[in-house]
Amino acid sequence: MSQPASPARRFSLSEDWLATIIGLLIVAIIGLGLIGPGPQTVTLKAAPGESVDKTAKPHDGWKASATIGGEKAVVEGAPKQLVDAQLYPFVCDGGQMIAEAGDSSLSLPSGGAYLTLTNNCDAEASLTYTTDYAIRWPLFGIFKR
């Protein structure tokens, strides 16, 4: 006599465990830096005649902005991608912020991209390098004026 077919057992996960797993997965993906280092800000401030340096995370998508004597200034030729152990020199000269070509033959230790700012201007100069969030809010900025 044939036995009635028993219903197939289906694996199911409770909502709590499902939420926990998805949440931990998101934390792991972001926490391991798989989608980027998070929003970064590196600021170099130099008094007239001063030279300063800082390291930044090697990453693509950097945006540069500058002020000279507290006024916004255009940064000419600022690279968007910073590479590890590379030098990125900036000079404030004649009221302008200029990105100079780095010397690629220099052998610098690994540990970040090196930013330097030499201020030949008469006022304090400030250079800020920032990266945005990988997860954007809002996504497109369609209502942004």
């Binding site: 931990l24 934390v27 972001i30 926490g31 809002p138 996504l139 004026r145």
Partner: protein
């Protein structure tokens, strides 16, 4: 009379339909993107008017968008079709696990300890008050149990857990769910300005929201509308309350087996406490531990903040879509009066208890 009983521990999703699930997820994604876009636009509008803080923060925008979508979906006859994707609790719990990255172990212990003390006082007082009031209005024992659990612990999840313990009718749970959302929405919007008017610190305000508002989503929403610190405290206090679900569900099952049904053979197993325990709290604590151990840079924590904002926005949109006013008409006014009475009692008591524990005694960093 036919009765449909509920025996699940977590909110029951609508019957799975893959096309509906996919369509619902796409719709939710579009609505949540719309919320994010509107949030920025309204913030810029108010900034241009000289108002520094956007009074229409994203939880409010999300619920309004959700309510509009709710009406349109019902008009178009598509509500049931997209229902499988409307998982308020799931999106909220994902967000809460990620939120753990922002809360250090020290804060968690301090706020959690205060939250647990508050939770014991609130759950016991509000549960028995609601039970007593429902008795005065001659509500059915199962409806009393589901309502008292919903008001005193954490809304929909507690209602479903209690319904499983006392074998409540499915329509009783649907009804309580509608009432929970109906009261939680105004409380989410009104309590943050009220907390400011009362001059409460963000910690006390957060503890008040966490101790009073029934649904965890609306608690997080009220905290977000108030301040980041209030959001953090509100979430931890609510989670402290949530962990009591299992104990209440077990006690209710025992009470109904021995006193209502009078069947000692139906005595529940203590395993029920673990079965009803909100497991996502484990994920939340784990992430908080990792963050406290310095596993994430501050920039990565900021990135995680963005991730939970999206998860919460999804949950807030779902609150609006979830609202089912039709369920309220079926039960009449008596349960509504009891629920409102219990909510007023809960609101006043939570204010007193939060002020003492988080204000006067200074637990939770006040």
């Amino acid at each position: 009379m036919t009765t449909t009983t509920v025996s699940t521990s977590t909110p029951v999703p609508a019957r799975r339909s893959w096309p509906g699930l996919v369509a619902g997820l796409v719709l939710l994604a579009v609505l949540t993107i719309l919320v994010a876009e509107l949030d920025l636009a309204t913030a810029e509008f108010f900034k241009a008017q000289g108002v520094a803080r956007n009074p229409f923060e994203y939880p409010l925008t999300a619920v309004i968008i959700g309510l509009i979508a709710n009406g349109l979906l019902r008009l178009a006859g598509l509500y049931t079709f997209v229902r499988p994707a409307i998982r308020t609790e799931l999106y909220l719990k994902i967000g809460l696990v990620i939120l753990g990255a922002r809360i250090s172990l020290g804060d968690l212990l301090a706020t959690g300890a205060g939250g647990l003390i508050q939770a014991f006082i609130m759950v016991a007082s509000v549960f028995f008050f609601t039970w007593w009031l429902a008795g005065r209005f001659n509500l059915a024992p199962t409806l009393k149990a589901v309502m008292a659990s919903a008001v005193s612990i954490c809304g929909v999840s507690a209602a479903i857990a209690a319904a499983g313990s006392v074998m409540a009718k499915k329509e009783e749970v649907t009804y309580i769910t509608a009432l929970v959302i109906l009261t939680a929405l105004p409380l989410m919007v009104l309590m943050p300005p009220l907390a400011n008017a009362l001059g409460l610190s963000p910690v006390v305000a957060g503890a008040w929201f966490g101790g009073n508002i029934d649904t965890t989503a609306a608690v997080v929403g009220a905290g977000t509308l108030h301040s980041p610190e209030a959001q953090q405290v509100a979430a931890v206090v609510k989670l402290s309350q949530n962990v009591l679900i299992g104990f209440v569900a077990f006690a209710l099952a025992l009470y109904f087996a021995l006193r209502v049904e009078r069947d000692p053979n139906q005595r529940p197993s203590p395993m029920m406490i673990w079965q009803r325990f909100p497991k996502f709290v484990i994920g939340f604590v784990l992430v908080s531990l990792l963050a406290s151990a310095g596993a994430f840079t501050p920039e990565l924590v900021k990135e995680m903040n963005r991730a939970y904002e999206w998860a919460f926005a999804l949950a807030f949109v779902c609150i609006g879509i979830d609202f089912a006013p039709g369920a309220l008409r079926q039960m009449g006014w008596r349960p509504i009066l009891v629920y409102m009475g219990a909510t007023v009692f809960n609101t006043v008591l939570a204010l007193l208890v939060a002020s003492v524990i988080f204000g006067t005694l200074g637990l939770g960093g006040a």
